[in-house]
């Protein structure tokens, strides 16, 4: 029952930090040679290379360091310190997964601690912007520009921090619990503990759809600098009470932010979802879908907000709750992914641990409909899901199962789990992948052992051949687990 975000984990982490003389302290800046409680990972293709680049956000869950951070890792440079690198795609390492403890030359930029999901907006072949929500004191949503330049990478905060704080994106990022709202009579809207993030280029028919200073080109909005502009949607896993600190009248929202500056200008960017916190997000052609986080009783399996409507009221027809919890009384829902055609939503549930396959119809209308067609039991404590598209066939769905260190692969065709990859590491959580011919290389952020696991699926039509091939980054369990911290002579292993 080690959820990646439990107070117990935090407590153990703090104990670990007190009891071990390992590197890292509250005053230490983010290190460049390791991940630390990585919550999510994003793979970026780098033109001219096979391996590409990895962006890993470290949650700094026990606050060992000054803040959390994003690490940009050139996958060509990771090594075992003895000349070994990432295995050739599809190869099976002779002695089990390769331990690539050396990250090589990396770039890091700070974000607030307790990060959650990371979303990626592709700006060009060499430019990306990732968005990260953090649940530390400021409840911030941060952007990081990633530019591939001169054979390397440059990271920059969005919005720009004040001079002297350029490496700390949390400084200038918007808070989702503005004090102006907290101190109002109602105390709402607020979105405490922002967690899930999704982004999509805004569709347009004219420039008025895009906002001042932006343009509409070929049906998509461009920011003032000519790069794609989109909406960043954010969930939050703690209810907002009203009045503030009363514990009463709980509410949950989705928050919409502009991708070019993340400006939060008013309550009109908070979209009411119901009396429960929201967990994870997926953006369809018209609707933004959200799962419900457990808040003392069975939550909503699936709700949505009409992205074509500006109104944030609940009774205007711009929102729905699917009511599917009546079909499966799952206590808590986590990740959600849509299939390529947006005809199926896959929702990860806990208690019981389950993957729900939900058929969707009329999703481009104001009245979409939903039906639960399959419930597949998953390995313990499933957390995140990612879609692995297949040419001419339904997608594969990869699910990280944190409680048992396993990645499960689900295929809608046979309607079953078609592979389970155990031994991935401790508390696998966020995932990303790079396409490699007929297969993919899957990267998994292991929250508790602070590594990124690498799983090769050489042929997506033979998921049973999936195999764990490497771990990237030094293992940090001796820092994070008080029960074995005494086994860390000399510091970090």
């Amino acid at each position: 029952m080690h959820g990646p975000l439990t107070p117990l984990g935090l407590l153990l982490g703090i104990l670990g930090s007190l009891g071990v003389g390992c590197t890292g302290s509250l005053n230490d800046p983010p290190p460049t040679d390791r991940f630390y409680y990585p919550s999510d990972v994003t793979h970026i293709d780098v033109p001219g290379t096979d391996d590409g680049m990895l962006l890993v956000v470290s949650a700094n869950f026990d606050k060992r360091f000054e803040r959390g951070w994003v690490t940009a890792v050139d996958l060509r440079q990771v090594s075992d310190g003895d000349g070994g690198h990432l295995p050739e795609f599809g190869a099976t390492p002779r002695n089990g997964p390769v331990q690539l403890t050396q990250l090589g030359e990396t770039k890091v930029i700070g974000v607030d601690s307790f990060s959650g999901e990371m979303a990626n907006l592709r700006l060009s072949d060499s430019a990306y912007r990732v968005f990260i929500a953090s649940r530390s004191e400021g409840m911030k949503v941060q952007g990081v520009d990633v530019r591939l330049v001169d054979g390397g990478v440059r990271l920059r905060c969005v919005p720009n921090p004040p001079a002297g704080y350029e490496s700390n994106c949390g400084i200038s990022a918007p808070t989702l619990t503005p004090s102006a709202f907290e101190n109002s009579a109602t105390g709402i809207p607020r979105a405490p503990s922002p967690f899930g993030v999704a982004v999509k280029v805004r569709q347009c028919t004219g420039e008025s759809d895009c906002g001042e200073g932006r343009t509409c080109v070929d049906g998509g909005c461009l920011a003032a600098n000519g790069e794609p502009f989109g909406d960043v949607w954010v969930s939050h896993i703690q209810s907002a009470d009203s009045p503030y600190a009363s514990g009463l009248n709980l509410s949950g929202y989705l928050v919409r932010l502009p991708s070019d500056n993340l400006e939060l200008s008013g309550a009109g960017q908070f979209y009411y979802m119901g009396g429960f916190p929201t967990a994870s997000l997926a953006i369809g052609e018209r609707w933004v879908y959200a799962t419900g986080r457990y808040a003392g009783s069975i939550t909503s399996v699936l709700g949505g907000r009409d992205s074509t409507r500006d109104s944030t009221a609940v009774s205007d027809g711009g929102a729905f709750l699917s009511g599917l919890e009546a079909s499966l009384a799952v206590l808590d829902t986590r990740s959600i992914v849509l299939n390529t055609q947006e005809t199926v939503a896959y929702v990860v549930g806990r208690s019981p641990d389950v993957l729900m396959e939900i058929a969707m119809t009329d999703v481009t209308t104001a009245s979409p409909t939903f039906a639960l067609v399959r419930s597949v039991w998953l390995p313990g404590n499933p957390a995140q899901a990612v879609r692995l598209p297949r040419e001419g066939a339904n997608d594969l769905i990869a699910i990280s199962c944190s409680g048992v260190g396993t990645i499960a692969l689900y295929d809608q065709g046979p309607g079953q789990l078609v592979a389970q990859i155990p031994g991935v590491g401790r508390q696998p959580f966020g995932m990303s992948y790079s396409v490699r011919g007929a297969g993919v290389r899957l990267f998994v952020a292991n929250f508790y052992d602070s590594r990124v696991a690498v799983i090769d699926i050489p042929d997506l039509f033979r998921p049973q051949d999936a195999r764990l091939v490497a771990h990237i980054g030094p293992r940090a369990v001796c820092l994070t687990d008080a029960t074995i911290s005494g086994e860390c002579p000399g510091g970090i292993p």
Partner: protein, 721 residues
């Protein structure tokens, strides 16, 4: 006899409560299966033991810890059940197997006496895994027989094992049937393993499965063994009559229309189609294999429902049609049960008995034991356990009360029908005048005689009493009708011939809906009219039905002052002027004063003390004012509560006990009482994947009528985890 069974059940319940929570640290309960002592083990059980019914052990997965556990259900010298002990008796026995075991199978066969017997091995596999473990299930030592799992060509999707028929001793070998899917093609394999010999484990380690069937673009979603049935035929020829067959439900990658469910003779590979109305996700046979039930894959929907539980008859099949859906007593096919409930798993207990609560008329409660030829139960996504009668294809009525008439009213019209001053005076019949024949409570139907109060009904305006003489007599059978109102009206409108549109060029031939021709008759009155701008209608004239057929009605004539009507309705004419309609069941029929109208339908719920098929409703038509629209209205209490149980959230001692039950097995289980006494009771074993707990639900217990929520303390539930 019944009383003693109840007493024994209560005794058993009391005994098991002494250890109401039993732990083995299950982590990931995904599968469980019953088995018995090996047929040659020499274990001599209690004289009452029926090896065909009663089971000794339950094998469970602890998926997240890559092991199996054994629950010992009958422990001589010990009260209650408990997990088999490890060599260190403080620990529960662990059987390490392949990673993430979820799919289990047990060697089974049939003795020469017809009993289901257990062989030598159990098998464990993982969804998506390409290997399996073979476990020796000799009660002296449960262990995986090879150091490495057996490798397979593709991931396992289902498996079953069979040791043979007519057995007098454990055979020399057993056969494991394995369904696999490699991402594109499904396969059925046969793995023959030795049972005897000191080198049998070595031979198992090198055994290779042989392919017996290839399924292009199909995967096996469910597979069960169907015991041989001597009278089973397919197109008149014996089929699976002397040896066991496999029932296989496939899921096609090409879509649900290509999925199929078939009986396969593994020796000849002959196939017989099972006529389920859609793809099946879970199969469950009766112990004799003559009926086979399945959960319809909810991906396949029709107008009324998605999913649900339905059965087929596997005794007699036709080459062109296969084995048909089970017929109910009315002769029409069974329809899916629980389609809106998201059934998850299914089990059939052949000959199972269940203790049903009977609510008496005076509000008291009594208990009655009912035995079912095929008691079924399925679990649902909303957290329920739903028993049903597999033989009749219906759910079970939890409310033991018979139907009752709550009230009756009589509406008498007055005034001129054509003047616009036509009004109705209604009067409620005094309850004393609704006579229920108490003697009929002992059967499944009740008769009510309804007599109007003398003198209180007036023909409005005239002061002339219009008290009917002959009473209405309603005979209502239990289990068929929900609470609703029934209306018997003089010259009533006939549904659906109400406000039907008339095209401009229709003339005397009016378009009508097809399929309802049996409701109208020559001479019935046709009301012609127009639509008004305010949404209302206005009558412009009348005609009568000259002739009719599917899709049209010809009027005798169109009145000249009603030359282009746009709407018409039909009222019952003289041949059968009384129309009987129900608020839920709709049009029931038409008849005449002094005659009896009968209405048949299938059960909604199986009633207490079922005594054979009945007409759902018989209405002896009494007198009513012979003026258009005069009506009697009767309000019925159906007293139907579809039987469904829910496990209380506190059952396993956790505050957030997840309520979703996944797997279910109905079984007759032994409970050791003393050296000379073992009690056998029907239980539901229900797996809850959320807390990794197995809950034993006694079927012979008195349940809370109001909530149908079961708890450990109140209902003798036992939690194993």
């Amino acid at each position: 006899m019944k009383r003693s069974a109840i007493l024994m059940a209560l005794v058993a319940s009391a005994c098991t409560q002494s250890s109401s929570s039993v732990t083995a640290s299950l982590a990931g309960l995904r599968g469980f299966v019953l088995f018995d002592d090996r047929m040659d083990s020499g274990v001599v059980a209690d004289p009452g033991w029926d090896a065909g019914i009663n089971k000794r052990y339950l094998l469970l997965t602890s998926t997240d810890t890559n092991e199996l556990r054994v629950l010992d259900l009958w422990r001589p010298g010990l009260l209650g059940r408990g997990f088999a002990q490890a060599p260190n008796p403080l620990e529960a026995l662990s059987i390490p197997v392949i990673a993430r075991p979820q799919i289990l199978a047990i060697d089974q066969g049939i003795s020469d006496g017809g009993s289901l017997v257990t062989g030598a091995y159990a098998y464990a596999a993982a969804q998506g895994g390409q290997e399996l473990s073979v476990v020796d299930i000799d009660s002296e030592a449960f262990f995986q027989v090879t150091t490495s799992p057996l490798a397979l060509a593709a991931p396992v999707t289902a498996m079953v094992a069979w040791i043979g028929e007519g057995l007098v001793a454990l055979p020399d070998q057993t056969t494991l049937y394995i369904a696999t899917f490699d991402g594109a093609t499904g396969g059925l394999w046969k793995l023959v393993l030795p049972v005897r010999g000191s080198d049998r484990y070595e031979k198992i380690g090198t055994a290779k499965p042989e392919p017996i069937l290839q399924l292009d673009g199909e995967t096996v979603a469910s597979m069960v063994l169907i015991p041989p049935f001597a009278q089973r035929t397919l197109d008149g020829a014996p089929f699976c009559s002397t040896s066991a067959c496999l029932a296989i439900a496939t899921r096609s990658l090409k879509g649900s229309a290509y999925s199929r469910t078939v009986l396969v003779d593994p020796k000849t590979l002959a196939l017989g189609t099972l006529q389920f109305p859609g793809p099946i996700s879970v199969l469950a046979p009766t112990s004799d294999g003559v009926r086979l039930f399945g959960i319809l894959d909810p991906e396949k929907c029709d107008l009324n429902s998605c999913g649900g539980v339905i059965g087929v008859n596997t005794a007699t099949g036709a080459a062109d049609g296969g084995f048909p859906v089970l017929a109910r007593f009315t002769g029409d096919p069974m329809t899916p049960l629980g389609a809106s409930l998201n059934p998850l798993d299914l089990s059939i207990g052949s000959g199972a008995a269940i203790l049903q609560t009977t609510l008496l008329v005076d509000g008291g409660i009594s208990l009655a034991l009912q035995t079912y030829e095929a008691l079924g139960a399925f679990t649902t996504g909303a957290g329920y356990i739903v028993p049903f009668d597999g033989a009749l294809g219906t759910r079970i009525d939890f409310d033991g009360r018979r139907p009752s008439l709550a009230s009756a009213i009589l509406a008498t019209p007055s005034g001129d029908e054509d003047s616009g001053s036509y009004t109705f005076a209604t009067g409620t019949i005094a309850s004393a005048n609704i006579g229920a024949d108490a003697s009929t409570y002992t059967s499944t139907r009740v008769q009510f005689t309804v007599t109007p109060d003398s003198g209180f009904l007036l023909d409005g305006g005239t002061g002339t009493p219009a008290v009917p003489n002959a009473p209405f007599v309603l005979t209502v059978a239990d289990g068929y009708l929900q609470g609703q109102t029934f209306t018997a009206s003089w010259e009533g409108l006939i549904s659906p011939y109400i406000s039907l549109a008339i095209p401009a060029d229709a003339g005397r031939v009016l378009p009508a809906l097809s399929g309802y021709e049996g409701r109208i008759a020559v001479g019935d009155t046709i009301i012609l009219g127009y639509s008004l701008d305010d949404g209302g209608t206005s009558e412009c004239g009348r005609s009568s039905v000259l002739r009719f057929d599917a899709g049209w009605v010809e009027a005798e004539a169109i009145p000249p002052d009603c030359s282009a009507p746009s709407l018409y309705s039909i009222r019952a004419g003289a041949s059968a002027p009384v129309v009987v309609e129900a608020s839920i069941d709709g049009f029931l029929g038409r008849s005449n004063t002094g005659k009896t109208l009968t209405y048949q339908k299938n059960f909604l719920t199986y009633p207490l003390n079922y005594d054979g098929p009945r007409n759902a409703l018989e209405v002896q038509i009494g007198d009513l004012p012979q003026k258009w629209g005069a009506y009697w209205q009767f309000t019925l209490n159906g007293n139907l509560i579809p039987y469904q149980l829910q496990i209380a959230s506190s059952t396993c001692g956790t505050s957030t006990f997840a309520v979703v039950p996944a797997g279910i097995i109905l079984a007759s289980l032994p409970t050791y009482i003393s050296a000379i006494s073992t009690v056998y009771t029907w239980e539901a074993l229900v797996g809850f994947p959320g807390p990794s707990a197995l809950v034993e639900v006694p079927l012979l217990t008195a349940y809370d009528y109001t909530s149908q929520v079961l708890s450990t303390t109140g209902n003798g539930l036992v939690c194993y985890r």
